[in-house]
């Protein structure tokens, strides 16, 4: 265990401590889930709750620990990092470790809280489902992988956490792998992320080679202190890292995996969309923010561009979805667009603030959706409706989530979205600002549509839905509290604690802090939200009917384009995946067997042909003949010599004595 050797001074603005023993043992947060996963794997099935209790206990400990850290952080501010050397290679030290500062503590808390509630929810939701124990193993691993990612002080550990999250998502999305679509969705998620990871990997390689270190804090130090080597590659490295973030945080055009990922059980969606996985990209950008701000501001423009594109395009698709979970999925993509765009505009705190509030209300919405799906046994909103009477708790909490997402005061989304809009406005990005306002309108609209189709009107489905178990509704209630109140930690002009939390880190953050509400942005955003809700309510509740759903308001051909998700999937399959898988791979295989192998075989044939010639002409009729002649000569000679072997003793004796005499005479007289 090696403590950081260089002290990256915070340049005076925020006073922080090293966090003491609590920070020193923060590795427990990371290691515990993996140990728990092992235990669940091996003895989980024999336990009374089939392993869920271990998962719950683990995540409970993590939550408590993160609360303790959070408390300590709020009272005194912590920024510290720890390294363990796991190998040296050339001039590089490969190090793992853990970082305890505002950003990571915020993430610990979010992951801990959301995961805990999702776990509690899942114990009931998944009851009686196939592979119950394995589900909790994966879920624990998922949380653990996310903690590996957010606790990492080195780029290499980020990469490790990054991919581990991907694998866990693969396991969880493909939970019902008996159906091919599900395993295909899991594969799609993994491979899309892998494509993005190539960007991240190359980005990390470039950064590492130009700074000579893999430690994030040292890279950031160099980025903010005029080191020439890193400056040359800042733009390309920044873009490459962002490509990585695009994969995990589902930015256009790499967002395609996320809606498909709804194939997993709902708790997985909740966890994945709220606290783990999709926030990884935003986290990475936030972690590297000083680098972007200091020397890669051109890359930030690209970040912002993609963020804005994503928030609009994904929001539009959400409007046409009939699947409740897919609406929420596209909503997540859209909200991630907000976060990424915020980072792009330089609003570090705003992005993280939105991540923070979004985690709670999106988890709430997903769990609520899960509760509904659990009750009606269908994902399609066309088979729902009128559920507010039979599922009052779910309905109430879902409404709170919706309002928070739509950005109405005093709910959480209002404050965070407003801060993002204010940042856009402040940066003078007028076009993007209006697109973001439009996004807010769309968000409010599709959420109202979802609520209307699901809870209002008459029930269109089968069976008799009823309210979910307390184990499922309790997390909903708790999350509703957070969805409502988590925005109050960063009210401009009143209390800006959140800003202090997340900016408490070793490398200073320089950004715009709104001193008070930007009334222009606030007004437009609020108006967009209200109009959206009103329009949605009008179209889907007052105009629409229970039988037909939303079929009335289709505007061709935009609707078709949206329903086909801009033909992006078709494009990928038609122009990338199928050519590779069907044509290129086949071509290579054919090349292998028919060209290279044929050549090799031809070589063999040529050799055997030559061999035949040599064999017949030279060997058989040449050398062999000589050999055969020699052997037949021996045979003939032997045939003659054998006549000596008469078997007559006297003859033998005669020969023997003759020999003896001859030799003796020779010795005596000649030699």
């Amino acid at each position: 265990m090696v403590k950081t050797s260089i002290n990256l001074f915070a340049e005076g603005e925020i006073v922080y401590t090293d966090g003491g023993i609590l920070a020193e043992f923060a590795w427990v947060l990371v290691v515990l889930p993996f140990i728990a996963a092992l235990i669940i794997t091996f003895i989980g099935k024999s336990l009374p709750m089939k392993g869920a209790e271990i998962a719950l206990a683990t995540i409970g400990i993590i939550f408590v620990y993160s609360v303790a850290l959070m408390f300590l952080h709020i009272t005194q501010g912590i920024a510290n990092e720890f390294f363990i050397n796991v190998g040296s290679i050339g001039q590089f030290d490969i190090e793992f470790g853990w970082v305890v500062d505002g950003l990571s503590i915020m993430m610990y808390f979010v992951v801990g809280l959301v995961a805990l509630l999702v776990f509690i929810y899942a114990t009931n939701y998944m009851e009686g489902e196939i592979r119950y124990t394995f589900f909790f193993t994966s879920l624990t691993l998922f949380a653990g992988s996310m903690l590996v990612l957010v606790s990492s002080p080195t780029l290499i550990q980020i990469l490790i956490g990054w991919e581990l999250v991907g694998v866990c998502s693969y396991l969880l999305i493909g939970h019902y792998w008996e159906i091919k679509d599900n395993s295909s969705a899991a594969m799609k998620a993994f491979i899309t992320n892998k494509v993005a990871d190539v960007g991240l990997m190359i980005g990390i390689i470039i950064l590492a080679l130009n700074t000579g270190t893999l430690r994030i804090s040292e890279i950031l130090y160099q980025a903010t202190h005029d080191y020439p080597a890193i400056k040359d590659v800042a733009f390309i490295a920044g873009v490459l890292l962002f490509i990585g973030a695009m994969g995990k945080s589902a930015q256009f055009p790499l967002h395609v995996w996320l809606p498909d990922a709804m194939a997993g059980p709902t708790p997985v969606s909740a966890l994945m969309h709220a606290a783990t996985m999709v926030t990884a990209g935003v986290y990475l950008l936030a972690r590297m923010f000083p680098f972007y701000q200091g020397i890669a501001s051109e890359a930030l423009d690209i970040v912002m561009l993609f963020g804005v594109i994503t928030l609009l395009t994904a929001g539009l698709i959400a409007v046409v979805q009939d699947d409740l979970k897919k609406v929420l999925a596209y909503s997540t993509v859209s909200q991630l667009g907000y976060m990424v765009a915020a980072i792009g505009s330089g609003a570090y705190t705003a992005a993280l603030f939105h991540l923070w509030t979004h985690a709670f209300f999106k988890a709430l919405l997903f769990l609520g959706a899960g509760s509904v799906i659990h009750a009606v046994h269908s994902n399609s909103m066309l088979e729902m409706g009128g559920l507010r009477k039979v599922m009052p708790k779910t309905f109430t909490t879902f409404i709170i989530g919706t309002v928070a997402l739509a950005g109405l005061p005093p709910f959480a989304g209002f404050f965070s979205k407003d801060e993002i809009l204010a940042s856009f406005n402040h940066e003078g990005e007028t076009t993007f600002f209006f697109i973001a306002v439009l996004g807010a309108f769309i968000t409010a609209f599709y959420m109202t549509r979802a609520v209307s189709l699901t809870f209002l009107g008459e029930y269109r489905g089968h069976g008799h839905p009823h309210e979910s178990h307390t184990m499922m509704t309790t997390p909903l209630v708790i999350l509703a509290v957070f969805a409502a109140g988590s925005g109050w930690v960063n009210i401009p002009g009143v209390y800006t604690g959140f800003t202090d939390w997340v900016t408490t880190r070793k490398t200073p953050i320089i950004e715009y802090h709104p001193e008070s509400f930007d009334l222009y942005a606030l007004g437009l955003g609020l108006a967009a939200g209200l109009i959206g809700i009103a329009l949605g309510y009008y179209l889907y509740q007052l105009q629409g009917s229970a039988e037909t759903g939303d079929n009335k308001i289709k505007i061709e051909p935009i609707w078709t384009v949206l329903e086909n998700k801009y033909y992006l999937d078709d494009f990928y399959f038609k122009f990338i995946i199928d050519p590779i898988k069907l044509k290129l791979a086949k071509a290579v295989d054919v090349f292998n067997t028919n060209v290279i192998d044929r050549f090799v075989n031809g070589f063999g044939q040529l050799a055997s042909f030559l061999g035949a010639i040599i064999y017949n002409n030279i060997d058989q009729n040449g050398i062999d003949k000589v050999l055969n002649m020699s052997s037949s000569g021996t045979d003939n000679f032997g045939g003659k010599v054998k006549l000596l072997q008469t078997g007559r003793t006297q003859q033998y004796l005669m020969l023997f004595l003759g020999g003896v005499v001859t030799i003796s005479l020779l010795i005596l007289f000649i030699i």
């Binding site: 054998k642 006549l643 072997q645 008469t646 078997g647 007559r648 003793t649 006297q650 004796l653 005669m654 004595l657």
Partner: protein, 101 residues
Amino acid sequence: MIVQPVLVVAAALFSIGIYGILVRRNAVMVLLSIELILNSVNINFIMFDTMLADTMMQGQIFTIFIITIAAAEVGIGLAIVLMLFRNRQTANINEFDLMKW
């Protein structure tokens, strides 16, 4: 007494014995020839014993031994010839060519 003639006669006996072995066709005759050879050796032994005036008389003692062995040899040899005769009804050693190729 001169030594040379006695030794030469012994050598002559030896050669005559060899001749007999090589030329005789009857197995018993071959054995007789072998006796001649042994006898020539005996003469040599006695001659050398006398010539060297050996106090241990080893020449004579060896001669006695040779005579004994010769007796044994004749016994066995004739028994073998007898066996062969019983099997082949002949004592002609040209008939015994089992070792032929």
